[in-house]
Amino acid sequence: MKTSDVVLQLTEVVKVYKLGEQTITALNKVDLSVTKGEFAAIMGSSGAGKSTMLQIASLLDNPTSGHILLHNQDVSTYSEKKLAKIRNQEIGFVFQQFNLLNRTSALENVALPLIYAGVGYKERQRRATKILEEVGLGDRLHNTPNQLSGGQQQRVAIARALINDPTLLFADEPTGNLDSKSGEEIMDILSGLHKQGRTIVMVTHEEDIASYAQRVIKMQDGKILSDRQQKPKKSK
């Protein structure tokens, strides 16, 4: 494995929460490397620290200590403004609860990151339409989230995460709020993206969902317990 293939590296990352008098160590000196083109699933029981690690790796949260290297650049010292730019350009995030803006059309939800990237109106419309067509929602462009099923909403959210062609795609329990059929559809999309060469890091607690990944990282009590490669399940 060449060093240049590593897109994301976490070294000795610690995250401590204060809950009143109590302090909880969610991450305890975690090291992790993610290689280009990888599809990794992070597993573990609730409270194991998997979501915390994902949020810190995706720059949505700050570590208490430790370093995060993106393309060998230490971003843990970056200003909020610089981090915002990286979140916009390099990172896509798919949430369990979709987190779409209410009363706002699918097209506008997907185009939102482009506004912060400074892309003009026409170009935004063109790119958002194209990517929604790719996730199979070409006929739902102007529907608002409450007019869409859970699976469709998550596909809008995936389209939004991909709109700026990010280096890394993160997904936190992407099928957690969906029925199994919609969940399968979402996983088909994600493994399709993996085949196209996307780097994906996903948190799940379901073996079935993790089987789509080629690497499974198991966590317990804020530490990595095991890290192994596997043959990914074939998608349809």
Binding site: Q55, L60, D61, N62, E80, K81, A84, K85, R87, N88, Q89, F93, F95, N99, L101, N102, R103, T104, E108, L112, P113, I115, Y116, A117, G118, R160, N164
Partner: protein, 407 residues
Amino acid sequence: MNFVNALKVAWKAILTNKSRSILTMLGVIIGVGSVILLVSIGNGLQVYIEDTFEDLGSNAIYVYPTEVLGENGFGQQDERSFVAAKQFSTKNLQDLQRYRRQIKEVLPESVRGTTVRYRDTQKDITVTGTTQVYENVRNTKTIKGRFFSDSETRSGQRVAVLGYKIAQDLFGNSDPVGRTIRLKGVNFEVIGVAEEKGGGAFGGPPFDNYIFIPLEAFFRLFDSTDINSFTVQVRNKEEIPEVIDLLTEYLEETDNRDEKEYDVIDQREILDTINQVLGVLTVGLGGIAAISLLVGGIGIMNIMLVSVTERTREIGLRKAIGATPNQILLQFLIESSLLSLVGGAIGVGLASLASFLMVSLADFPSAITWQSILLAFGVSVSVGVIFGVAPARKASRLSPIEALRSE
């Protein structure tokens, strides 16, 4: 993201949440509107009362006996002495008329309430017994017929000039001149109708409901030679203090009155008193306005706080997909500015409309001032912006995941 884009995002957010936007604006509308309106009413009241007093004639000094509590105390209200005061007489009138050098006219007035009858119509009215100088001193023109003459005054002819409203009430559209009315059962010939004076309620005595008859006729009608007041018109405004001294001397030395038994005031003094009262009133209205501004401000504060708090998740999401803290701040700054400005403009508009309606329909000279607009607008808009931006600023500093986690 440039400013135009931020403006579009903010505008979009306002349109997306119509009911919340309208509620927010309502706070601003009420705050701004009520303050401007209250202040304009206060100003209008001042203008109105000053105008009414200008109408009463200038260069005038009023002399009237004051109510001294009689031995029977309060409540002596039989017909012969409805005020327990030492009234003036025709001798006083003749005496005052001798000061030709300083005094131009002396207007005596005797006033009684009684009933007037014309055919089947009967009304309770006020009768004023006076002389022909009333027309000039009180600046009262007749719109029909004429005022009574010097000789009619002297001989006590049973002639009457009707106030504008009483003429309407008794005769409707027909011409009252030449008709005969009965005052307290005695026939009087109507010889004129006075022009409309307005007044009543706020603006002094309701002259439109008065009937004017010659002083001598009044004395006979009510079997009394009391004169209730004099209006002394001076030749020269500058001589008012001098004439007041003259009148005081006359009343105390010649007429043997105690200083408690009469009052001498000039127009300036009355206006001063009224302006003093109005000053207090304006402060009072200002206080009410300040309270409504405060209440409006708290309303704006509330809505802004709630709307930003419930949007912390939205802020988190926007940050997660690449919005910088400043971009979040700019969005909320523009949003709350737009809401406050549009709400403020509607408030100014509504207050102007209400003020315009008062002027055109009720003939009340309500006047909107720039100071009140600036004050109301300034306070409401800054409250809106501060309380829209402060929580947004707090939210924009959270990490995206903290903001997203809030419920």
